[in-house]
Symmetry: C2
Subunit: 184 residues, 2 copies
């Protein structure tokens, strides 16, 4: 493992409602200097959570949601921000109730995923939700989300639809399959 670089300086170069960009001067252990920029969440409180809701051992509940970043509907796992002071598992269950209309009796923390660690500080906690029961909470969604059950044994079919492009959803689904294999 190489010796970690030293951050010589940090400067906030722009900030919006949701985002903050930080410029950093970094010196590597060999003396090389580089300028980097990374993105911080401007409204960051407790991070974010992604839920893998299992209706049974082979059925995951996906949602079809408008994604403003790419301006199209995407089919993927439900997710949301953790409120200030809220525990990650509680946030997972709340988002599940708001977006999918189920609560979970079992919430299992699976992993934490980064998006693009070279320039984003963001990460998301992935939680497997099982032993589900119907419960709907009002969320802040602008429109009703369509819930789409999908077979975990057919991830390649999901990818073939072209509607599921998000690396976090794809990684979480494959990891869930591996997790279930090891535990069933």
């Amino acid at each position: 493992m190489p010796k970690k670089p030293t951050i010589l300086s940090r400067k906030l170069v722009c900030r919006s409602r949701l985002f903050a960009v930080e410029a950093m001067e970094i010196q590597f252990s060999n003396g090389e200097l580089r300028s980097y920029e990374r993105l911080k969440r401007g409204d960051s409180t407790g991070g974010a959570v992604m839920i893998v809701p299992l209706l049974d051992d082979d059925t995951v509940l996906l949602i079809r949601e408008y994604s403003a970043g790419v301006d199209r509907y995407e089919l993927g796992l439900p997710k949301g921000k953790i409120d200030a002071g809220e525990a990650a598992l509680a946030a997972a269950n709340r988002e599940l109730k708001e977006e999918v209309g189920y609560g979970a009796k079992i919430l299992h923390p699976l992993t934490s995923l980064t998006l693009a660690p070279s320039y984003l500080e963001h990460s998301i906690d992935v939680v497997i939700a099982s032993d589900l029961y119907p419960e709907k909470l009002e969320g802040d969604e602008p429109e009703e989300l369509e819930v789409v059950p999908w077979s975990l044994s057919n991830i390649s079919g999901l990818l073939a639809t072209g509607e599921c492009s998000e690396a976090r959803s794809i990684a979480a689904l494959y990891m869930t399959v591996d997790y279930l294999k090891g535990n069933h």
Copy 2:
């Protein structure tokens, strides 16, 4: 499939060397209005490419690289920006030579992954590189990257190291395993 929302307005709210934040007013088909922010790459030219370099059918070459966004070393797939006017496959081979010290006789476009489509416009093209031969190109890396061969049949062992957190690398590795299963 719901009727797509309408983007009523777009406004650049901040820009740095690498990033640009766009604020958007969006109206959903049910009449609901929402304010969104999304991130655009400020220096966007041709996008980005991630390479899955296969030394053989079970061995992938990973790199250990300092990731400024999270300020730690990460073990993952090589990647880089596509230069203006450069084709994605050419960029994949160039980055492979710069970061891993190999060229590829076969370059297969596997998929395109988004990171967080709800607030990032970014996507990355994933390319499987095989039939490798040693060739080193000088890149702009601040330090020599450590190349780490890893068995594709042991992705869970890779995740257990805690050094590979990037959703894009994880999704691309699992998808490569599925691709190889279907084609060998």
